[in-house]
């Protein structure tokens, strides 16, 4: 008893101490870390994985490797894959949060059919399939097989993209289909095809580290492709970084030289630059003579683009072209990189080709740190470009070419007569057909055009004209799904398997690491069901799984520039950390980073690249007295992706994005129109209006304003202008005007910010 007393006292003292000053306990334990296995480093004790697997991210075309942490086979978290050659252990916030957007409450979990009353009713899959088949067949019977069209997505794995294109065209007899890649990569694809003979981005990401002059044109990788910027930051050669962009973007901030030219004046700049390069003798005559054609014409063509002409058109100082030409001449490895500033333009193809011309004439191609390099948008834009079976036949082929049709028929073991003899209409033309009443049914898969397509109110009106709109998507809350007659619930990234191809042609894997909600099915499974329901199951007997279709894709690619027949299977890709095409069977051990054209051989029949050029044309709709400002649109922040169907579902990503729609405007313009910072304004174009708040910022030029593209109303304003060759919309040049929405905003002394 006596002996126990000190112990009791001790316990009492401990309790008292804990009551007064508690150093640890349940709340502390919640944040306790434990050493992670699988080379992961420390992780929260509550989130320790029992296995890991690597896959690539499903947002943008960078194609980062993510190591998914699994517990009992199911994903519980992820970290960027440290050894993956693309991202070197890093990811942007979208990648870090990739799993968290899958559990959103607005996921589509069961097929929905619009009832006569206008409301959705939940139906079973067999009923949904029957509805799809009977309505589509009915419309085709009365209006012809061409009255049904589809719009696919660069967000799906290649196997699904190919299945959609093959089933729609060969199975359903659909003639016209396109994908949202029209909105981002069509220009680059057409430019490459005409210049190189094949849609072939020549570069590998190591080029970003190996250049001594990097020229970014209409690209803001700091925001749009942050992990590519990682590679630029790891360039140890103290490179010169030139950013050609009307806006002072984050990338422009990081540049050694920013050229804030007038919007859409870059074609003139490139021609002027070419003229100057010729003048100072910076042309690689040997390369030009051996590997290109059309240089003499080009040399003649650029003569009128003198420094004075360039200065007048671009608004840049008179010596810009001279300085830039010298910089390129001095550079031993010069690389050119472009994105949407070039692609989304009324003359984007020619602008992209003007960039390609610069690389060709200076011999900056095929060597480390060089290239005319298009940075892609979506995670599988490249897969869509090669295998969507829309405007081109499977494997980068041509519907117009009887040999190509024969090859495909043989490889797929189908009747050659089911292969159309004409290419699909492009996206804008499909919509014209809707307007004309010739297309009556639309099948939209994995994209949200009711938000993202240009001139939105017109697009909404066209949707209303349709007899039947099928939307196949992960989320039922998208602007497009809400207008559908039939919603097919799809599993998303992480809930299905397949391959995607990134900007540097690297084929990466996505895997099934978590369960789709409710009855949502992988798009692949949905295509299988619909093919069965359509009665063409036999045609797709071999298309049983993404892995099986990958073997079909290998056969389709054999002998093509995008040959992947040397890739064994998914496990091969997994082991190698992704593989860049081409991987012909003859290639035994492909190295980790490979570029095209090292031997100077291009894909035209004569093996030569072409100089392609055209006289620049003025903006179709320049600002005028009525609409005095030019609206540019683009990526807002890193944490926002396109129409935000996914990114808006992560609390953290949402927290890291602006809470409302902000119109960036130069201080002088704000003063001119007496608009106070943060004041509410109405923005009007010839096509629509929207409400925004003013963000006064000298990062946009006088006369320009900027809106991030993620807000659902932004395309109310955009003018329906397209590149004549690629038919890609020109989202970044609409004449607008701004007026204050409320008088109260004027209480604050306007605009003077100091």
């Amino acid at each position: 008893m006596i002996q126990q007393l000190p112990a009791t006292m001790g316990r009492l003292l401990d309790t008292a101490r804990t009551l007064l000053h508690q150093q640890s306990g349940p709340l502390t334990r919640e944040l306790l870390l434990a050493p992670g296995r699988f080379g992961l480093g420390m992780l929260p004790t509550k989130e320790q994985p029992d296995a890991v697997t690597d896959m690539v991210c499903g947002y943008c075309s960078t194609g980062c490797g993510l190591r998914v942490h699994l517990k009992d086979g199911e994903a519980i978290g992820l970290t960027p894959t440290s050894p993956y050659p693309v991202n070197l252990g890093m990811a942007c916030p979208k990648g870090w949060e990739a799993l968290n957007v899958l559990t959103a409450t607005d996921r589509a979990t069961i097929p929905l059919r619009r009832h006569a009353s206008g409301h959705f009713e939940a139906v079973s899959w067999p009923v949904a399939v029957d509805t799809f088949v009977s309505r589509m067949r009915h419309i085709q019977r009365f209006h012809g097989s061409e009255s049904v069209a589809f719009l696919g997505s660069g967000q799906m794995p290649t196997e699904e993209i190919a299945f959609l294109g093959a089933f729609a065209k060969f199975g359903m007899g659909v003639r016209h289909g396109d994908a949202n890649t029209r909105q981002c990569m069509a220009t680059a694809a057409v430019a490459y095809k005409q210049s190189f003979g094949f849609d072939a981005p020549p570069f590998t990401y190591a080029d970003l580290e190996q250049s001594d002059v990097l020229i970014f044109i209409g690209a803001n990788p700091c925001i749009a492709h942050p992990i590519l910027w990682e590679r630029v930051m790891r360039n140890r050669r103290s490179p010169q970084i030139v950013v050609i962009d009307p806006r002072r973007t984050e990338t422009a901030m990081q540049a050694t030289w920013h050229l804030p030219l007038r919007p859409k004046s870059d074609l003139v700049l490139h021609y002027g630059l070419a003229r100057q390069l010729i003048a100072i003798g910076a042309v690689d005559q040997t390369f030009v003579a051996a590997h290109t054609s059309g240089f003499d014409d080009f040399q003649q063509f650029v003569q009128p683009y003198t420094q004075e002409v360039v200065a007048a058109e671009t608004g840049l100082p008179g010596d810009t072209v001279e300085r830039l030409a010298r910089l390129i001449q001095r550079g031993t490895a010069v690389s050119f990189w472009w994105t949407m500033g070039v692609n989304q333009s009324h003359e984007g193809v020619r602008t992209a080709q003007a960039i390609i011309n610069l690389a060709l004439m200076t011999g900056n191609i095929g060597r480390p740190g060089t290239g005319a390099n298009s940075i892609t948008g979506q995670c599988n834009a490249m897969g869509s470009r090669l295998f969507s079976n829309t405007t081109g036949l499977l494997g980068g082929r041509d519907f117009l070419n009887p040999d190509h049709r024969g090859e495909v028929a043989r490889i797929l073991n189908i009747d050659e007569t089911v292969i159309p003899h004409k290419n699909s209409l492009a996206y804008p033309e499909i919509l014209s057909e809707v307007r004309a009443g010739r297309i009556r049914a639309l099948w939209v898969v994995g994209t949200n055009p009711a938000h993202s397509w240009i001139d939105q109110s017109d697009f909404h009106e066209l949707l209303d004209r349709l007899d039947f709109l099928v939307v196949q998507d992960m989320y039922l809350s998208t602007e497009t799904a809400s207008k559908a007659d039939l919603v097919l619930p799809a599993a998303g990234w992480g809930e299905k398997a397949g391959t995607v191809i990134n900007s540097e042609r690297r084929i990466g894997l996505i895997k099934k690491v978590t369960r789709a909600p409710g009855q949502a099915l992988a798009d692949f499974h949905i295509f299988r069901l619909l093919a069965e329901g359509w009665g063409v199951g036999e045609m797709f007997r071999e298309w049983t799984s993404p892995a099986a279709v990958f073997q079909i894709l290998k056969r389709l690619s054999r002998g093509r520039p995008c040959d992947i027949s040397g890739i064994r299977d998914y496990a091969h890709i997994d082991e190698c950390g992704g593989l860049q095409w081409p991987v012909p069977e003859s290639l035994v051990e492909p190295s980790t980073e490979r570029r095209l054209f090292a031997d100077g051989g291009f894909f035209h029949v004569d093996g030569r690249a072409r100089f392609v050029m055209d006289t620049p044309v003025p903006l179709p709709e320049p600002p005028d007295a009525e609409f005095p400002l030019l609206l540019l649109t683009g990526r807002g922040t890193v944490t926002q992706w396109h129409t935000e169907t996914r990114t808006a579902k992560s609390v953290v990503l949402k927290k890291l994005a602006p809470p409302d729609l902000q119109l960036a405007m130069h201080p002088d313009d704000a003063e001119r129109w007496a608009l106070a910072p943060e004041s509410a304004v109405t923005v009007e174009s010839r096509y629509g209006t929207l409400d925004a708040t003013v963000l006064v910022s000298p990062t946009v030029q006088k006369g320009n304003v900027f809106l991030p593209m993620h807000h659902p109303s932004v395309n109310q304003l955009t003018a329906p202008q397209f590149d004549p060759h690629s038919r890609q919309p020109s989202y970044k040049a609409t004449a607008i005007r701004v007026r204050p929405r409320s008088q109260r905003a004027r209480v604050i002394e306007p605009t003077k910010m100091n």
Binding site: L20, H21, Q22, Q23, G25, L27, R37, F38, G39, G41, M42, P44, A51, M55, E74, T79, S82, G89, M90, W96, E97, N100, Q140, M172, G173, C222, I223, P226, I227, W229, M233, E250, M253, T417, V418, P420, A497, K511, K512, Q519, A520, L529, G533, V536, G537, A571, D574, V651, V652, L653, K654, K655, L656, P658, P667, V696, S697, P698, T699, N754
Partner: protein, 609 residues
């Protein structure tokens, strides 16, 4: 193609389709990634990521006078915000919880259209504001590493640290009722692993550096930290921002805009702050109570007092003062995330004004309780208290007890003032805060004096034999004059702020005025309405009392004989009571504005952060 249409293949039977659907749904539910891609991963002792972050960690152990701190190379921060999500993810934070943020600085001059993202987390200050403010000793500064750690289990969720930190670092987690914050991933550092943000920055912009405390102090004294953010001398942050672009503050300007022409991108986006209802109620209520006790002490101490401690009026006023004081202090605990740990509030008395406030108000309540007990004993036998309890002797205790209550109360209000005055928030400067808080007490005091006088007049009327003494009217006039003066000074000071000539949005006065004139203008209006109603009520009470003095007596005699409470007495009582409640409400609204109109820029935000 046309053949497909002209001769549609036979549709499969529904049963076949159903079988296929079932099969596909089953397949969809199978997680196969592990089986299909089984491959041995090397189980190395060193994390795979170490190859990228090794150079970003200190190369040698700490020496005396040194600590760890973040070092951010702004020229490499491109605004990708990966650090925020990595911190969130690798530390297992809750869905909406972020310990790191990324703000934006923008150039405001045309020739310098700068756009600079700024990643920021805890600065592990040499003099942590959170630590000295914490009333429960829930913060520790590690003696070796200098890391400022938060003891989650010790915290009771008062959130005072969130007000005391100039940089908005401690984050209140409402679900758990505590604050949590960055600890520089001390668990990782202890194993030579880099903090989550350092591991995840694609551009190697963040590193863990060894900071000389003496140098950190020198830099803070020079004002060297970062443009357009709070001045560093307050807490001596150890994070070092480096830049070749001249973005590091050279001590020439702080606040939302710097002398270099850099501004926080969110400087115009000013939203009302949290209203903290329990705190507003606690402040206004306790200060009102203290004011009443000051008046009661004066009235009972002054020789030849005009105010008898034996009166019902004294008892009612004492009861009201006590009740309000007790209620306000009780309400304050509702502010706590974990109110059952309220007893820990006094532990930090050495440094925390919140602890001191808790201690002093504890004493205040003790004195007030004694005073109430005494006043119960001397009160007229209205409450059914047996006569034998009454001791005339207690009468003598009243004045000293009220005095003790008043003195501790005034000390308590001073502690309340200091709680806010020591935070780095200029709207809560000591002069204005003292004026506000003591102003409330002053108004309460003046109201109590007026009420005492008026109730005396009404009370005298109850007894038909008494004559209304002029001295009661002196009390009324004295109290009302004080009220008028107190109110004018207080409101005058507030109006001066509303019409400030400082330029929006960089000066705190302009920011607060912008809120009070804009989003909070409704509250300001209600404050004036309430105060006006209070004045009208008091005037009505004076009018009713005056009615006795002049002609009312005879006219009302009939009524008073019918009931103990005559109509004019009732009018005086209701008028006084209403005046008090209206003014109290008005002060409560002002105290709500005290919290909601506070807008001191922390680290730059903007573009989401």
């Amino acid at each position: 193609m046309s053949s497909t249409l002209s001769c549609p293949p036979p549709a499969p039977s529904e049963r076949a389709l159903r079988t296929l659907v079932d099969g596909l749904l089953h397949e969809q539910g199978q997680l196969t990634a592990v089986d299909e891609f089984e491959r041995a991963l090397e189980e190395s002792l060193v994390p795979d990521q170490a190859r990228y972050y090794r150079a970003l960690l200190p190369a040698r152990p700490l020496r005396d006078g040194e600590q760890y701190g973040f070092e951010v190379n702004l020229d490499r921060c491109s605004g990708c915000k990966a650090c925020v999500t990595a911190c969130h993810s690798l530390n297992g934070l809750d869905e909406n919880e972020t310990w790191r943020s990324v703000g934006l600085l923008v150039g405001t001059r045309d020739e310098r259209p700068v756009l600079q993202h700024v990643t920021t987390a805890c600065h592990h200050c040499v003099e942590p504001g959170c630590l000295s403010a914490c009333p429960t000793l829930a913060y520790e500064k590690d003696p070796v590493t200098g890391i400022v750690k938060h003891l989650d289990d010790q915290c009771f969720g008062c959130q005072y640290c969130t007000l005391a930190c100039p940089y908005g670092v401690p984050q209140y987690h409402a679900g758990k009722g505590i604050v949590r914050k960055c600890d520089l991933c001390s668990q990782r550092l202890a194993r030579d692993e880099a903090p989550a943000c350092v591991q995840a920055c694609p551009h190697e912009a963040i590193r863990v550096a060894i900071v000389s405390v003496a140098e950190a102090r020198e830099r803070a004294t020079r004002g060297e930290f970062l443009d357009a953010c709070p001045a560093p001398h307050h807490t001596t942050p150890t994070t070092r921002y480096t830049s070749q672009r001249g973005l590091v503050a050279d001590g020439t300007g702080h606040g939302a805009k710097s002398a270099n022409g850099m501004s926080a991108a969110d400087r115009f986006a000013i939203a009302p702050g949290h209203s903290h209802p329990p705190l507003a109620a606690m402040l206004a209520g306790s200060q009102w109570s203290v004011g009443m006790y000051v008046a009661l002490a004066m009235l009972t101490t002054v020789p030849n007092s005009l105010f008898s401690p034996v009166s019902l009026c004294h008892f009612v006023l004492t009861l009201f003062a006590f009740g309000l004081g007790a209620l306000s202090i009780a309400v304050a605990t509702l502010h706590l995330g974990r109110p059952w740990l309220a007893y820990r509030a006094i532990l930090g008395w050495r440094t925390s004004w919140l602890s001191r406030e808790a201690l002093v108000f504890g004493l205040f309540m003790a004195c007030a309780t004694a005073g109430l007990a005494a006043s119960v004993n001397v009160a007229p036998n209205l409450l059914g208290i047996p006569q034998w309890i009454h001791h005339a002797g207690f009468v003598g205790w009243m004045a000293p007890l009220h005095m003790a209550t008043a003195i501790t109360g005034v000390a308590g209000v001073w502690c309340s003032v200091m709680i806010y005055a020591v935070t780095p928030r200029p709207f809560w400067n000591v002069r204005d805060t003292a004026l506000k808080f003591f102003g409330t007490s002053f108004i309460a005091m003046a109201w109590t004096i007026s009420t005492a006088g008026l109730m005396e007049i009404a009370g005298e009327h109850l007894s038909p034999h008494a004559t209304i003494s002029a001295s009661s009217w002196y009390l009324v006039i004295f109290g009302s004059t004080l009220l008028l003066v107190g109110w004018s000074v207080k409101v005058g000071n507030e109006l001066a702020l509303l019409t400030t000539r400082e330029r929006f949005p960089n000066h705190w006065r302009a920011r607060t005025a912008h809120l009070l004139n804009g989003a909070l203008s409704g509250l300001v209006r209600w404050r004036v309405v309430c105060a006006t109603c209070g004045a009208v009520s008091l005037l009505a009470a004076i009018g009713a009392a005056n009615a006795f003095g002049s002609s009312g007596t005879s006219a009302m005699e009939g009524v008073s004989s019918m009931s103990n409470l005559s109509l004019p007495t009732l009018a005086v009582t209701v008028g006084c009571g209403a005046a008090g409640l209206f003014w109290l409400a008005s002060e409560l609204i002002e105290r709500t504005c005290f919290f909601t109109a506070e807008s001191t820029p922390g680290m730059p935000g903007g573009n989401g952060s």
